[in-house]
């Protein structure tokens, strides 16, 4: 189960997204200037199961797509960016056939009220990651 392969692959897909700016490290002091939508991703593993006698295993879970924008802009811009970012990411195909972004699930609010100024939406994308074997 190569964590690095999975993350590097998706990092490349995210950097190619045009609908919003990809922010890799959300705890940096500075985010992209202005109120333009930005996004980041978080991995959330649900289960890992063995699906072959020679060491093939399958990890399933959610790739959380978190899209944010500056305060005071309402949700329209972030929602539109969410639709576009998710669509762009779902269009990617792993040439190795190991990682599949299966489908987008329901979008939820991901803001912390007045505790921070970024308005955010989270859309989990179900993924399936198959590794192992010769």
């Amino acid at each position: 189960m190569s964590e690095a392969y999975k993350r590097e692959l998706v990092r490349g897909w995210c950097e190619a997204v045009t609908a919003a700016v990809f922010v890799q490290t959300i705890n940096d002091a500075d985010r992209p200037a202005g109120a333009a939508p930005w996004f980041t991703v978080q991995w959330e593993v649900d289960a890992v199961e063995v699906i072959g006698y020679c060491g093939v295993s399958q990890e399933t879970g959610q790739l959380n797509i978190i899209v944010g924008a500056g305060p005071g802009g309402g949700d329209a811009e972030v929602a539109a960016a969410t639709d576009d970012v998710v669509a762009e990411l779902l269009a990617n195909v792993d040439p190795q056939g190991q990682l599949t972004l299966e489908r987008a699930n329901g979008t939820t609010e991901h803001s912390a009220g007045s505790a921070d100024r970024w308005y955010r939406l989270n859309t989990p994308i179900s993924y399936r990651y198959v590794t192992g074997g010769p």
């Binding site: 063995v50 699906i51 072959g52 006698y53 020679c54 093939v56 074997g133 010769p134």
Partner: protein, 221 residues
């Protein structure tokens, strides 16, 4: 002895090819556990043999893994002829099924299930005994169902599809990891179907029909 349960990780599933087995002619078979076959030997570890007309009822019509091969002999793993009433026949035959001609399904497969049904009950009711039923003399064949993941890049998947098409009986050798030896027998790939869930991986389901029940061959403690 401490309780143990062995993982199936590393299990191998060898299904023979369509090549005709090599015919070995034994010059001697010992009354021993395991029986040792003396022959101009080409068998290696991993090969299977099918013994017929050997003169030993403990061996005839049965499949054995090859053990401890040398240039002149090999053992029949899991055999026992110590108390035999048999003697070497005048024209004994041992068919050698080389593992080199077989293909390994283990990287495709994710489950193996053996199914053996009891003989069916035949209704034979009479006026005197309307509920009379007799047991059919026909024993349903053992079937082995293998499910797995479609992967056309794996040559074994193509071999599996071809095996269904040709219907040829092949050797089946399931090598259990952690030294738990072999489950062996004959098998015909009788059907391959596919499982295509809307949310999941592309899968296949292969059904093997066995002319005789596969046997677990190992040296008994």
């Amino acid at each position: 002895m401490p309780a143990k349960a062995y993982s199936t990780k590393g299990l191998q599933i060898w299904l023979g090819g369509t090549e005709a087995p090599a015919a070995l002619v034994p010059t001697a078979i010992t009354s021993a556990k395991p029986a040792v076959v003396t022959v101009a030997n080409t068998a290696v570890v991993g090969d299977l043999v099918y013994v017929s007309n050997s003169g030993f009822p403990e061996l005839d019509g049965k499949w054995f893994p090859v053990g401890t091969p040398t240039a002149t002999q090999f053992e029949l793993v899991g055999s026992d002829t110590t108390g035999t009433a048999g003697a070497l026949a005048t024209a004994p035959t041992v068919d050698l099924h080389a593992q080199g001609d077989a293909f390994d399904l283990s990287c495709l497969a994710k489950t193996i299930t053996f199914n053996s049904d009891a003989p069916a009950a035949i209704q034979a009711g009479t006026y005197c005994d309307p509920s009379l039923a007799i047991t059919s003399p026909i024993i349903p064949p053992t079937t082995v169902e293998v499910t797995g993941n479609i992967k056309i890049e794996d040559p074994a998947y193509g071999e599996l599809i071809d095996a269904e098409a040709d219907g040829v009986q092949r050797s089946l050798d399931i090598v259990l990891p952690f030294g738990q030896q072999h489950i062996v027998g004959p098998a015909v790939i009788s059907m391959v179907t596919w499982d295509l869930p809307v949310d999941g991986v592309q899968g296949f389901r292969a059904t093997m029909t066995c002319a005789s029940k596969p046997q677990h061959r190992f040296e008994h403690a």
